[in-house]
């Protein structure tokens, strides 16, 4: 393993991998969790991540890609720091999920698989997340927010902005709110969106 790839994972993550591999009767069983944990830390499955995971498990990069492309949570491009995933499946749809989803699109100025220009948020329409009785529900990274109405949306976003240390009002806020960054560039978000594969058109 080259020095370059060794720098990819934190010592904590590397230790976690070492333990994971030993946990299973076959080390390959650690593959899917490893990819997800690596993504949590690095942000997405870059070529370097795939290469390192392949080497640690002892299979080819092609095999890793073959498996990784199957799972909807695994991604090959960066997402926002906070990935907002809005469930629009039946139980959520019946209780106003599309209205919530539309409000997120308006507030963030991005659509499905888009990323805000500052990289703080990305947005995804997702399938059932197992919160049907508390619908409509969303996940931001792994955090659930349930029983939502469109009116909850600005508060949820403000919460994550303050978590990230971004001021929730003042000069910056106009840009954040309108989803239009001060440099006027939406290219990253729209590009990602155009390339994204909508689960539900």
């Amino acid at each position: 393993m080259s020095d370059e790839t060794m720098t990819l994972f934190s010592p904590r993550l590397a230790a976690r991998f070492d333990a994971l591999i030993l946990k299973y009767p076959l080390r390959r069983s650690a593959l899917v969790p490893m990819l997800l944990y690596a993504q949590d830390e690095v942000g997405y499955l870059s070529d370097a991540v795939i290469s390192e995971v392949a080497e640690r498990i002892g299979i080819t990069e092609l095999e890793v890609r073959n498996v990784a492309t199957y799972y909807s949570m695994l991604r090959f491009k960066p997402a926002g720091k906070y990935n907002v995933q809005v469930c629009t499946n039946i139980s959520c749809m019946l209780r106003g999920a599309y209205e919530v989803y539309e409000r997120f699109q308006e507030e963030l100025g991005i659509a499905h698989k888009g990323i805000t220009a500052d990289g703080l948020f990305s947005l995804e329409e997702v399938e059932c997340i197992g919160a049907c009785c508390w619908a409509p529900a969303i996940q931001v990274n792994y955090e659930f927010h349930d029983e939502l109405t469109p009116e909850h949306v600005p508060g949820i976003l403000a919460g994550y902005r303050s978590k990230a240390g971004v001021p929730s009002d003042g000069s910056l806020s106009l840009g954040w709110k309108a989803g239009v960054p001060s440099d006027g560039s939406l290219s990253l978000g729209w590009k990602a969106q155009a390339e994204g594969n909508a689960p539900h058109a």
């Binding site: 899917v32 997800l36 909807s72 499946n89 039946i90 399938e127 059932c128 619908a135």
Partner: protein
């Protein structure tokens, strides 16, 4: 935090520790935990399997296969190690019961897994949670660590000799987003670090399963029920339910009801009563239009079809299924074409692509319904949708193809008039979020 609900008609067996802090092992012990596993260790495999058979506990994942019988199929002697695999990939739209089990009672899952292991002679159990349930995985991991610390897991469990006594290990595992992995053979593939593609059966997992060894795969709710069956006795558990349908079920009631939530009700509980009394009726005093009785894969029921007992056999008589017991209630303001479209869009997105009838069928159904809902349908399309769905039935490795086709057929059959109302470029009569299709 998901809201807990309650209703006087509930019979709390599996949910009896919900909200009581039982995720902490000391609290779980205070509430009677791990006594069932200890008892099973003393009684031995044959006794456990007989109890399970007598309890009439049927698989909570949706198929309703008797759990005791499933366990009895595992050969006593095996050259390869045997395994228990707990299916916590809960992904069936309309179903969120396992969510609460992992959150409130993770030790019940662990204890049930130990008992299943004792019954079939396995030394290792896997608990597979869907990737989206990360916070629940962390709760499970903590609970497993607690069980190891108390000597309920590891070598020489429950005070048996560390060298010659009983060994049982539990490994928790996360998925990374895939509905199909809820199918038992795809689940094993996924756990082996592969794409979640189903295996041809036979051989069944009880003979050739995980890593080629005999494997028992049960839904998380089934497993969490096991300690209660042992504790209260098979006869008492069976008596709580209806004929051949032992005990209770966690019903996830969602959609247009006043009080959605997960309610634990006896098997055979009347569906009409469930909607109008337990869940408080249709929201806003509106009229009931349709009911999906057991998760999105189960054929929709009309209001006149719901005076039935909710158990596997009684729901089957209506031509639908109890499935995962995810009851989705739909009011009269809902467009059933849109509902059908949203349902099939899910299956199109989640089809693993292995079997052509499923991969192509779901795709064509989605395309047809998208066009149809946007007002570009023709009369022929209605029959065509039916034709595509009929040709998916029974032609795939796993039940996914049926799961997509069956509800579609029911939507068309039972709401044909609504489909016809969308013909001839007419706008959706319920126009809410119609997007004009660019075709």
């Amino acid at each position: 935090m998901p809201r807990l609900v309650s209703h006087p008609d509930e019979v709390k067996i599996v949910s009896r520790r919900f909200g009581l802090g039982a995720a902490k092992i000391d609290r779980y012990l205070e509430l009677g935990g791990y006594k069932a596993a200890k008892k099973c260790l003393e009684q031995g495999p044959d006794w456990i399997i007989n109890e399970m058979k007598a309890s009439n506990l049927r698989g909570r994942g949706g198929a309703g296969f008797p759990a005791g019988m499933k366990w009895s199929f595992v050969p006593k002697k095996s050259a390869k190690p045997k395994y228990v695999l707990v299916n916590g990939d809960e992904s069936e739209p309309g179903t969120c019961k396992d969510h609460l089990i992992f959150l409130h009672d993770p030790h019940a899952v662990i204890e049930g897994t130990i008992i299943a292991g004792l019954a079939i002679g396995a030394k290792v159990g896997f608990i597979y949670l869907r990737g989206e349930y990360r916070y629940l995985l962390e709760i499970m991991e903590k609970a497993v660590a607690g069980a190891y610390a108390k000597g309920f897991l590891g070598k020489g469990i429950f005070g048996t000799d560390p060298k010659t006594g009983t060994e049982f290990q539990i490994i928790t595992h996360t998925g990374a987003g895939a509905y199909e992995v809820g199918e038992e053979s795809a689940l094993m593939e996924s756990l082996e670090g592969k794409r979640g593609i189903p295996r041809i059966k036979p051989p069944f997992p009880a003979v050739v399963g995980l890593y080629g060894g005999p494997t028992v795969i049960n839904n998380a709710e089934t497993i969490a029920t096991v300690p209660h069956v042992i504790e209260m006795g098979a006869a008492a558990y069976a008596a709580a339910g209806s004929a051949r349908n032992g005990g209770t079920r966690l019903f996830s009631i969602s959609g247009h009801v006043e009080r959605p939530g997960v309610y634990e009700l006896p098997m055979g509980y009347n569906l009409k009563k469930m909607i109008y009394e337990v869940a408080g009726g249709v929201r806003g005093g509106r009229k009931l239009k349709a009911i999906v009785p057991g998760g999105s894969s189960t054929p929709v029921l009309l209001p006149e079809e719901i005076d039935i007992g909710m158990d596997f056999d009684q729901v089957a008589k209506t031509g639908s299924m109890l499935g995962s017991a995810g009851v989705v209630v739909i009011d009269d303001q809902t467009c059933m074409v849109e509902f059908a479209l949203r349902t099939i869009s899910f299956y199109q997105h989640e089809s693993c692509g292995w079997c052509i009838p499923c991969r192509e069928g779901t795709d064509w159904l989605k395309k047809s319904l998208t066009r149809f809902h946007a007002g570009f349908g023709t009369a022929k399309d209605i029959d065509n949708i039916q034709h595509i769905a009929e040709n998916m039935l029974g032609r795939t490795f796993c039940p996914f193809g049926d799961a997509a086709a069956m509800p579609t057929l029911a939507f068309v059959k039972k709401f044909r008039k609504e489909f016809e109302d969308h013909l001839n470029r007419k706008a959706c009569p319920f126009a809410k979020h119609v997007e004009l299709a660019v075709i």
